[in-house]
Protein backbone atom coordinates (compact mmCIF):
# COMPACT_ATOMS: atom_id res chain seq x y z
CA UNK A 1 0.00 0.00 0.00
CA UNK A 2 1.51 3.28 -1.13
CA UNK A 3 1.01 6.71 0.47
CA UNK A 4 0.85 9.88 -1.61
CA UNK A 5 4.07 11.70 -0.62
CA UNK A 6 6.47 8.81 -1.34
CA UNK A 7 4.62 8.15 -4.59
CA UNK A 8 5.20 11.73 -5.71
CA UNK A 9 8.88 11.57 -4.76
CA UNK A 10 9.34 8.36 -6.74
CA UNK A 11 7.59 9.92 -9.73
CA UNK A 12 9.86 12.98 -9.48
CA UNK A 13 12.81 10.59 -9.62
CA UNK A 14 11.31 8.73 -12.61
CA UNK A 15 11.64 5.66 -10.42
CA UNK A 16 8.18 4.11 -10.44
CA UNK A 17 9.80 0.93 -11.75
CA UNK A 18 11.27 0.21 -8.29
CA UNK A 19 8.10 -1.46 -7.05
CA UNK A 20 8.22 -4.21 -9.63
CA UNK A 21 11.98 -4.63 -9.38
CA UNK A 22 11.76 -4.98 -5.60
CA UNK A 23 9.08 -7.62 -6.05
CA UNK A 24 6.04 -5.57 -4.97
CA UNK A 25 2.67 -4.82 -6.53
CA UNK A 26 2.01 -1.18 -5.58
CA UNK A 27 -1.61 -0.66 -4.52
CA UNK A 28 -3.07 2.84 -4.61
CA UNK A 29 -6.20 3.78 -2.64
CA UNK A 30 -8.84 6.16 -4.04
CA UNK A 31 -7.74 9.06 -1.79
CA UNK A 32 -4.09 8.62 -2.78
CA UNK A 33 -5.06 8.57 -6.44
CA UNK A 34 -7.17 11.70 -5.98
CA UNK A 35 -4.30 13.54 -4.32
CA UNK A 36 -1.63 12.49 -6.79
CA UNK A 37 -3.28 11.98 -10.16
CA UNK A 38 -6.71 13.63 -10.26
CA UNK A 39 -7.63 15.28 -13.56
CA UNK A 40 -6.30 18.81 -13.74
CA UNK A 41 -3.13 18.24 -11.72
CA UNK A 42 -1.21 17.10 -14.78
CA UNK A 43 -1.46 20.53 -16.37
CA UNK A 44 0.66 21.99 -13.59
CA UNK A 45 2.64 18.99 -12.38
CA UNK A 46 4.19 16.61 -14.95
CA UNK A 47 4.76 14.05 -12.21
CA UNK A 48 0.98 13.74 -11.82
CA UNK A 49 0.78 12.71 -15.46
CA UNK A 50 3.49 10.14 -14.89
CA UNK A 51 1.50 8.66 -12.00
CA UNK A 52 -1.70 8.67 -14.06
CA UNK A 53 0.12 6.89 -16.89
CA UNK A 54 1.58 4.35 -14.46
CA UNK A 55 -1.95 3.64 -13.24
CA UNK A 56 -3.14 3.30 -16.81
CA UNK A 57 -0.24 1.01 -17.74
CA UNK A 58 -0.64 -1.21 -14.70
CA UNK A 59 2.69 -0.17 -13.14
CA UNK A 60 0.54 1.05 -10.23
CA UNK A 61 -2.66 -0.76 -9.29
CA UNK A 62 -5.78 1.01 -8.07
CA UNK A 63 -7.59 -0.72 -5.21
CA UNK A 64 -10.98 -0.03 -3.66
CA UNK A 65 -11.51 -0.22 0.09
CA UNK A 66 -14.05 -2.60 1.56
CA UNK A 67 -16.80 -1.24 3.79
CA UNK A 68 -14.92 -2.43 6.85
CA UNK A 69 -11.64 -0.88 5.67
CA UNK A 70 -13.40 2.43 5.10
CA UNK A 71 -14.80 2.30 8.63
CA UNK A 72 -11.38 1.61 10.11
CA UNK A 73 -9.88 4.41 8.00
CA UNK A 74 -12.45 6.86 9.38
CA UNK A 75 -11.71 5.74 12.93
CA UNK A 76 -7.96 6.10 12.42
CA UNK A 77 -8.42 9.56 10.90
CA UNK A 78 -10.54 10.66 13.84
CA UNK A 79 -8.40 9.15 16.58
CA UNK A 80 -4.85 9.68 15.31
CA UNK A 81 -4.04 13.38 15.23
CA UNK A 82 -2.11 14.59 12.23
CA UNK A 83 -2.99 11.60 10.05
CA UNK A 84 -4.47 12.53 6.69
CA UNK A 85 -7.18 10.85 4.66
CA UNK A 86 -4.77 9.02 2.39
CA UNK A 87 -2.63 7.69 5.22
CA UNK A 88 -5.76 6.54 7.07
CA UNK A 89 -6.86 4.57 4.02
CA UNK A 90 -3.38 3.14 3.46
CA UNK A 91 -3.03 1.98 7.08
CA UNK A 92 -6.57 0.58 7.25
CA UNK A 93 -6.20 -1.42 4.02
CA UNK A 94 -2.67 -2.60 4.87
CA UNK A 95 -3.84 -3.76 8.30
CA UNK A 96 -6.79 -5.69 6.91
CA UNK A 97 -4.79 -7.28 4.09
CA UNK A 98 -1.54 -7.78 6.03
CA UNK A 99 0.48 -5.86 3.45
CA UNK A 100 3.55 -3.65 3.94
CA UNK A 101 3.13 0.12 3.68
CA UNK A 102 5.28 2.68 1.89
CA UNK A 103 5.34 5.83 4.02
CA UNK A 104 7.54 8.90 4.16
CA UNK A 105 6.55 10.73 7.33
CA UNK A 106 7.79 9.69 10.74
CA UNK A 107 4.46 10.18 12.48
CA UNK A 108 2.68 7.80 10.10
CA UNK A 109 5.58 5.34 10.24
CA UNK A 110 5.40 5.25 14.06
CA UNK A 111 1.65 4.70 13.97
CA UNK A 112 1.98 1.96 11.33
CA UNK A 113 4.55 0.16 13.45
CA UNK A 114 2.33 0.45 16.51
CA UNK A 115 -0.35 -1.27 14.44
CA UNK A 116 2.09 -4.08 13.71
CA UNK A 117 2.55 -3.21 10.04
CA UNK A 118 5.74 -3.68 8.05
CA UNK A 119 6.90 -0.26 6.90
CA UNK A 120 9.02 0.67 3.92
CA UNK A 121 10.49 4.09 3.19
CA UNK A 122 11.21 5.53 -0.27
CA UNK A 123 14.95 5.21 0.45
CA UNK A 124 14.76 1.52 1.17
CA UNK A 125 12.57 0.91 -1.88
CA UNK A 126 14.90 2.96 -4.10
CA UNK A 127 17.87 0.88 -2.98
CA UNK A 128 16.21 -2.51 -3.07
CA UNK A 129 14.36 -1.79 -6.32
CA UNK A 130 17.35 -0.47 -8.25
CA UNK A 131 19.67 -3.35 -9.14
CA UNK A 132 22.18 -1.07 -10.84
CA UNK A 133 24.42 0.19 -8.03
CA UNK A 134 25.38 3.42 -9.78
CA UNK A 135 21.77 4.26 -10.58
CA UNK A 136 20.81 3.38 -7.03
CA UNK A 137 23.40 5.84 -5.74
CA UNK A 138 22.21 8.56 -8.14
CA UNK A 139 18.60 8.10 -7.16
CA UNK A 140 19.27 8.08 -3.44
CA UNK A 141 21.40 11.22 -3.64
CA UNK A 142 18.73 13.00 -5.68
CA UNK A 143 16.10 11.92 -3.16
CA UNK A 144 18.34 13.16 -0.34
CA UNK A 145 18.59 16.53 -2.09
CA UNK A 146 14.83 16.75 -2.60
CA UNK A 147 13.96 16.04 1.02
CA UNK A 148 16.88 18.02 2.50
CA UNK A 149 18.36 14.94 4.13
CA UNK A 150 21.32 15.58 6.43
CA UNK A 151 24.65 15.12 4.71
CA UNK A 152 25.77 12.44 7.19
CA UNK A 153 22.61 10.42 6.57
CA UNK A 154 22.99 10.63 2.81
CA UNK A 155 26.62 9.59 3.15
CA UNK A 156 25.64 6.63 5.33
CA UNK A 157 23.17 5.52 2.69
CA UNK A 158 25.74 5.74 -0.07
CA UNK A 159 28.18 3.70 2.00
CA UNK A 160 25.44 1.14 2.51
CA UNK A 161 24.79 0.99 -1.24
CA UNK A 162 28.47 0.60 -1.96
CA UNK A 163 28.68 -2.14 0.64
CA UNK A 164 31.49 -0.48 2.56
CA UNK A 165 29.84 -0.76 5.97
Amino acid sequence: MVDASPLIYLAKLDALDVFGLAGHVPLITPEVERETARPGLAYRFPDALMIAEALRDGVLVRTELSEQERTVASQLGAEAGGLDAGQSEVLAAAGARELPVLLHERRAIRLARSLGLETWSPVRLLIEGTPDRELSRTRVLEFARMVQMRFEDAEALVRRIEGTT
Partner: protein
Protein backbone atom coordinates in the same frame (compact mmCIF):
# COMPACT_ATOMS: atom_id res chain seq x y z
CA UNK B 1 -22.64 36.22 -6.01
CA UNK B 2 -19.70 36.68 -3.64
CA UNK B 3 -20.70 36.73 0.00
CA UNK B 4 -18.91 39.67 1.60
CA UNK B 5 -19.18 41.02 5.09
CA UNK B 6 -18.42 44.52 6.16
CA UNK B 7 -15.51 44.85 8.58
CA UNK B 8 -14.49 48.12 10.18
CA UNK B 9 -10.81 48.48 11.00
CA UNK B 10 -9.07 51.35 12.72
CA UNK B 11 -5.78 51.89 10.90
CA UNK B 12 -2.92 54.32 11.35
CA UNK B 13 -3.07 57.38 9.09
CA UNK B 14 0.23 56.37 7.48
CA UNK B 15 -1.16 52.93 6.55
CA UNK B 16 -4.28 54.47 5.04
CA UNK B 17 -2.12 56.85 3.01
CA UNK B 18 -0.10 53.91 1.71
CA UNK B 19 -3.29 52.08 0.74
CA UNK B 20 -4.56 55.15 -1.11
CA UNK B 21 -1.25 55.50 -2.89
CA UNK B 22 -1.37 51.88 -4.09
CA UNK B 23 -5.04 52.22 -5.04
CA UNK B 24 -4.36 55.27 -7.16
CA UNK B 25 -1.50 53.49 -8.86
CA UNK B 26 -3.61 50.40 -9.65
CA UNK B 27 -6.69 52.45 -10.63
CA UNK B 28 -8.88 50.72 -8.05
CA UNK B 29 -10.40 51.89 -4.81
CA UNK B 30 -8.89 51.64 -1.36
CA UNK B 31 -11.11 48.69 -0.40
CA UNK B 32 -10.01 46.63 -3.39
CA UNK B 33 -6.35 47.18 -2.57
CA UNK B 34 -6.93 46.24 1.06
CA UNK B 35 -8.78 43.11 -0.06
CA UNK B 36 -5.96 42.02 -2.37
CA UNK B 37 -3.31 42.58 0.28
CA UNK B 38 -5.35 40.67 2.85
CA UNK B 39 -5.85 37.77 0.43
CA UNK B 40 -2.13 37.51 -0.26
CA UNK B 41 -1.21 37.99 3.39
CA UNK B 42 -3.64 35.32 4.56
CA UNK B 43 -2.33 32.84 1.99
CA UNK B 44 1.21 33.51 3.21
CA UNK B 45 0.17 33.18 6.86
CA UNK B 46 -1.62 29.89 6.14
CA UNK B 47 1.47 28.59 4.37
CA UNK B 48 3.72 29.65 7.28
CA UNK B 49 1.43 27.89 9.73
CA UNK B 50 1.29 24.76 7.56
CA UNK B 51 5.08 24.61 7.30
CA UNK B 52 5.45 25.14 11.05
CA UNK B 53 3.02 22.30 11.78
CA UNK B 54 4.76 20.03 9.30
CA UNK B 55 8.24 20.84 10.61
CA UNK B 56 7.09 20.14 14.17
CA UNK B 57 5.65 16.79 13.09
CA UNK B 58 2.12 17.84 14.01
CA UNK B 59 0.71 17.18 10.58
CA UNK B 60 1.49 15.27 7.41
CA UNK B 61 2.44 17.09 4.23
CA UNK B 62 -1.02 16.31 2.91
CA UNK B 63 -2.80 17.84 5.90
CA UNK B 64 -0.45 20.79 5.79
CA UNK B 65 -1.33 21.25 2.12
CA UNK B 66 -5.01 21.26 3.02
CA UNK B 67 -4.36 23.85 5.70
CA UNK B 68 -2.49 26.06 3.27
CA UNK B 69 -5.09 25.59 0.53
CA UNK B 70 -2.60 24.13 -1.96
CA UNK B 71 -1.92 20.76 -3.57
CA UNK B 72 0.38 18.13 -2.10
CA UNK B 73 2.79 18.71 -5.00
CA UNK B 74 3.07 22.40 -4.07
CA UNK B 75 3.43 21.50 -0.40
CA UNK B 76 6.34 19.13 -1.03
CA UNK B 77 8.04 21.86 -3.05
CA UNK B 78 7.39 24.36 -0.26
CA UNK B 79 8.85 21.95 2.30
CA UNK B 80 11.97 21.69 0.15
CA UNK B 81 12.24 25.45 -0.34
CA UNK B 82 11.76 26.06 3.37
CA UNK B 83 14.71 23.76 4.03
CA UNK B 84 12.81 21.52 6.44
CA UNK B 85 15.17 18.56 6.88
CA UNK B 86 14.17 14.93 6.55
CA UNK B 87 15.31 12.78 9.39
CA UNK B 88 16.40 9.35 8.26
CA UNK B 89 14.84 6.57 10.27
CA UNK B 90 17.68 4.55 11.89
CA UNK B 91 15.58 1.38 11.55
CA UNK B 92 15.36 2.10 7.87
CA UNK B 93 19.09 2.24 7.45
CA UNK B 94 19.50 -0.99 9.36
CA UNK B 95 16.88 -2.69 7.24
CA UNK B 96 18.63 -2.08 3.95
CA UNK B 97 20.55 -5.06 2.63
CA UNK B 98 24.19 -4.48 1.78
CA UNK B 99 24.58 -7.25 -0.74
CA UNK B 100 23.18 -6.17 -4.11
CA UNK B 101 22.98 -9.81 -5.18
CA UNK B 102 20.54 -10.44 -2.39
CA UNK B 103 18.17 -7.78 -3.66
CA UNK B 104 15.00 -9.16 -5.08
CA UNK B 105 14.64 -8.46 -8.75
CA UNK B 106 11.32 -9.36 -10.27
CA UNK B 107 10.76 -10.15 -13.92
CA UNK B 108 7.25 -9.07 -14.80
CA UNK B 109 6.51 -11.47 -17.62
CA UNK B 110 8.68 -14.50 -18.14
CA UNK B 111 6.51 -15.98 -20.88
CA UNK B 112 8.68 -15.09 -23.86
CA UNK B 113 11.94 -16.92 -24.39
CA UNK B 114 14.70 -17.02 -21.85
CA UNK B 115 15.68 -13.39 -22.01
CA UNK B 116 15.82 -11.40 -18.82
CA UNK B 117 16.05 -7.64 -18.46
CA UNK B 118 19.37 -5.90 -18.16
CA UNK B 119 21.26 -6.00 -14.92
CA UNK B 120 23.88 -3.84 -13.31
CA UNK B 121 26.65 -5.90 -14.81
CA UNK B 122 25.49 -5.31 -18.33
CA UNK B 123 25.84 -1.75 -19.59
CA UNK B 124 23.66 -0.10 -22.19
CA UNK B 125 26.09 -0.83 -25.02
CA UNK B 126 25.99 -4.51 -24.09
CA UNK B 127 22.22 -4.50 -23.95
CA UNK B 128 22.03 -2.75 -27.30
CA UNK B 129 24.08 -5.54 -28.87
CA UNK B 130 22.03 -8.14 -27.06
CA UNK B 131 18.86 -6.81 -28.65
CA UNK B 132 20.34 -6.32 -32.13
CA UNK B 133 18.39 -8.25 -34.78
CA UNK B 134 20.20 -10.34 -37.38
CA UNK B 135 18.58 -8.19 -40.06
CA UNK B 136 17.32 -4.72 -39.18
CA UNK B 137 14.00 -3.85 -40.75
CA UNK B 138 13.34 -0.71 -38.71
CA UNK B 139 16.13 1.24 -37.06
CA UNK B 140 14.83 3.48 -34.28
CA UNK B 141 17.28 6.28 -33.48
CA UNK B 142 16.98 7.99 -30.09
CA UNK B 143 18.97 10.94 -28.82
CA UNK B 144 20.77 9.29 -25.87
CA UNK B 145 20.30 7.30 -22.69
CA UNK B 146 18.52 9.44 -20.08
CA UNK B 147 20.75 10.75 -17.27
CA UNK B 148 18.27 9.31 -14.77
CA UNK B 149 19.51 5.82 -15.60
CA UNK B 150 16.39 4.43 -17.19
CA UNK B 151 16.62 3.10 -20.73
CA UNK B 152 14.57 1.43 -23.41
CA UNK B 153 16.78 -1.64 -23.18
CA UNK B 154 16.20 -1.84 -19.43
CA UNK B 155 12.44 -1.94 -20.11
CA UNK B 156 11.82 0.90 -17.69
CA UNK B 157 11.82 4.17 -19.61
CA UNK B 158 9.07 6.39 -20.98
CA UNK B 159 10.27 5.53 -24.47
CA UNK B 160 9.99 1.82 -23.74
CA UNK B 161 6.45 2.12 -22.37
CA UNK B 162 5.23 4.34 -25.20
CA UNK B 163 6.79 2.15 -27.89
CA UNK B 164 5.34 -1.00 -26.42
CA UNK B 165 1.92 0.73 -26.20
CA UNK B 166 2.12 1.77 -29.87
CA UNK B 167 2.92 -1.81 -30.93
CA UNK B 168 0.04 -3.07 -28.78
CA UNK B 169 -2.31 -0.50 -30.34
CA UNK B 170 -1.23 -1.51 -33.85
CA UNK B 171 -0.93 -5.26 -33.50
CA UNK B 172 -3.21 -6.06 -30.56
CA UNK B 173 -2.51 -6.12 -26.85
CA UNK B 174 -2.69 -9.92 -26.81
CA UNK B 175 0.01 -10.21 -29.46
CA UNK B 176 2.57 -7.88 -27.93
CA UNK B 177 4.28 -9.06 -24.73
CA UNK B 178 4.58 -6.78 -21.75
CA UNK B 179 7.53 -5.89 -19.55
CA UNK B 180 11.04 -6.95 -20.44
CA UNK B 181 9.68 -9.71 -22.69
CA UNK B 182 8.87 -7.00 -25.19
CA UNK B 183 12.58 -6.46 -25.86
CA UNK B 184 13.39 -9.81 -27.52
CA UNK B 185 10.00 -9.70 -29.25
CA UNK B 186 10.85 -6.26 -30.66
CA UNK B 187 14.24 -7.59 -31.79
CA UNK B 188 12.72 -10.65 -33.43
CA UNK B 189 10.55 -8.37 -35.56
CA UNK B 190 13.69 -6.80 -36.95
CA UNK B 191 13.40 -3.65 -34.83
CA UNK B 192 16.41 -2.11 -33.14
CA UNK B 193 16.91 1.03 -31.09
CA UNK B 194 20.21 2.90 -31.00
CA UNK B 195 21.16 6.32 -29.63
CA UNK B 196 22.90 8.93 -31.72
CA UNK B 197 24.83 10.31 -28.71
CA UNK B 198 26.88 7.82 -26.77
CA UNK B 199 26.24 9.33 -23.29
CA UNK B 200 23.27 11.02 -21.56
CA UNK B 201 22.62 14.53 -22.87
CA UNK B 202 19.50 15.59 -21.00
CA UNK B 203 21.43 17.41 -18.30
CA UNK B 204 23.75 19.25 -20.69
CA UNK B 205 23.42 22.82 -21.91
CA UNK B 206 21.81 23.23 -25.33
CA UNK B 207 25.19 23.85 -26.96
CA UNK B 208 26.85 20.83 -25.35
CA UNK B 209 23.83 18.73 -26.19
CA UNK B 210 23.93 19.67 -29.86
CA UNK B 211 27.67 18.99 -29.94
CA UNK B 212 27.19 15.53 -28.37
CA UNK B 213 24.55 14.69 -30.98
CA UNK B 214 26.76 16.06 -33.76
CA UNK B 215 29.61 13.78 -32.68
CA UNK B 216 27.26 10.86 -33.20
CA UNK B 217 26.54 11.61 -36.86
CA UNK B 218 29.60 9.86 -38.30
CA UNK B 219 29.27 6.71 -36.12
CA UNK B 220 25.57 6.55 -37.01
CA UNK B 221 26.45 6.78 -40.70
CA UNK B 222 28.83 3.84 -40.29
CA UNK B 223 26.16 1.89 -38.43
CA UNK B 224 23.63 2.62 -41.19
CA UNK B 225 26.07 1.31 -43.80
CA UNK B 226 26.64 -1.76 -41.66
CA UNK B 227 23.05 -2.75 -40.86
CA UNK B 228 21.32 -1.37 -43.98
CA UNK B 229 17.88 -0.96 -42.41
CA UNK B 230 14.64 -0.95 -44.37
CA UNK B 231 13.44 2.21 -42.63
CA UNK B 232 14.70 4.70 -40.07
CA UNK B 233 12.59 6.23 -37.31
CA UNK B 234 14.12 9.26 -35.60
CA UNK B 235 12.71 9.81 -32.12
CA UNK B 236 12.75 13.53 -31.28
CA UNK B 237 12.37 16.35 -33.74
CA UNK B 238 15.70 17.89 -32.71
CA UNK B 239 17.70 14.95 -34.06
CA UNK B 240 15.97 14.78 -37.44
CA UNK B 241 18.63 16.85 -39.22
CA UNK B 242 21.62 14.98 -37.72
CA UNK B 243 19.97 11.68 -38.65
CA UNK B 244 19.37 12.95 -42.19
CA UNK B 245 23.04 13.94 -42.44
CA UNK B 246 24.09 10.47 -41.22
CA UNK B 247 21.82 8.90 -43.84
CA UNK B 248 23.34 11.11 -46.52
CA UNK B 249 26.84 10.12 -45.43
CA UNK B 250 25.80 6.47 -45.54
CA UNK B 251 24.30 7.06 -48.97
CA UNK B 252 21.06 5.46 -47.97
CA UNK B 253 17.71 6.71 -49.18
CA UNK B 254 15.43 4.47 -47.14
CA UNK B 255 12.34 6.22 -45.75
CA UNK B 256 12.85 8.33 -42.62
CA UNK B 257 10.02 9.07 -40.22
CA UNK B 258 10.45 11.48 -37.33
CA UNK B 259 8.36 11.15 -34.20
CA UNK B 260 8.20 13.39 -31.11
CA UNK B 261 9.86 12.11 -27.95
CA UNK B 262 7.07 10.49 -25.91
CA UNK B 263 6.87 12.58 -22.76
CA UNK B 264 3.96 14.55 -21.40
CA UNK B 265 1.58 15.80 -24.10
CA UNK B 266 3.71 14.26 -26.87
CA UNK B 267 3.29 10.72 -25.64
CA UNK B 268 -0.18 10.15 -27.20
CA UNK B 269 1.08 11.73 -30.42
CA UNK B 270 4.10 9.41 -30.48
CA UNK B 271 1.94 6.36 -29.79
CA UNK B 272 -0.63 7.31 -32.41
CA UNK B 273 1.87 8.14 -35.15
CA UNK B 274 3.99 5.05 -34.52
CA UNK B 275 0.91 2.83 -34.40
CA UNK B 276 -0.30 4.33 -37.70
CA UNK B 277 3.11 3.66 -39.24
CA UNK B 278 3.11 0.08 -38.01
CA UNK B 279 -0.41 -0.52 -39.32
CA UNK B 280 0.02 1.20 -42.64
CA UNK B 281 3.44 0.28 -43.85
CA UNK B 282 5.00 -2.47 -41.87
CA UNK B 283 4.12 -6.08 -41.47
CA UNK B 284 5.60 -6.75 -38.09
CA UNK B 285 2.91 -9.06 -36.84
CA UNK B 286 5.03 -12.11 -37.59
CA UNK B 287 8.66 -12.87 -36.97
CA UNK B 288 10.88 -12.34 -39.99
CA UNK B 289 12.07 -15.42 -41.81
CA UNK B 290 15.64 -14.72 -40.78
CA UNK B 291 16.14 -15.73 -37.20
CA UNK B 292 17.77 -13.37 -34.76
CA UNK B 293 21.17 -14.27 -33.61
Amino acid sequence: MIDRQQVNLRLERELVDSLDDLAQDAHVDRTEVARRILTEGIARARMDRALRDYAAGHSSAWRAARGAGISLYEMLDAVHQAGIPYELDPDDLAGIGTDPASRRVAETSPSYGNDTPGTASEDIAGLRERYRPAAVRVLFVGESSPAGGTHFHLANSNLFRATRAAFAAALGADTVPDGASFLPWFRDRGCWLVDIADAPVNQLTDTARRAAVERGVQPLAELLRDVDPGRVVAIKRDIEDPVKRAMALAETDVPLVTLPFPVRQWRPIYERELAELLRAELDLSASPSHRPR
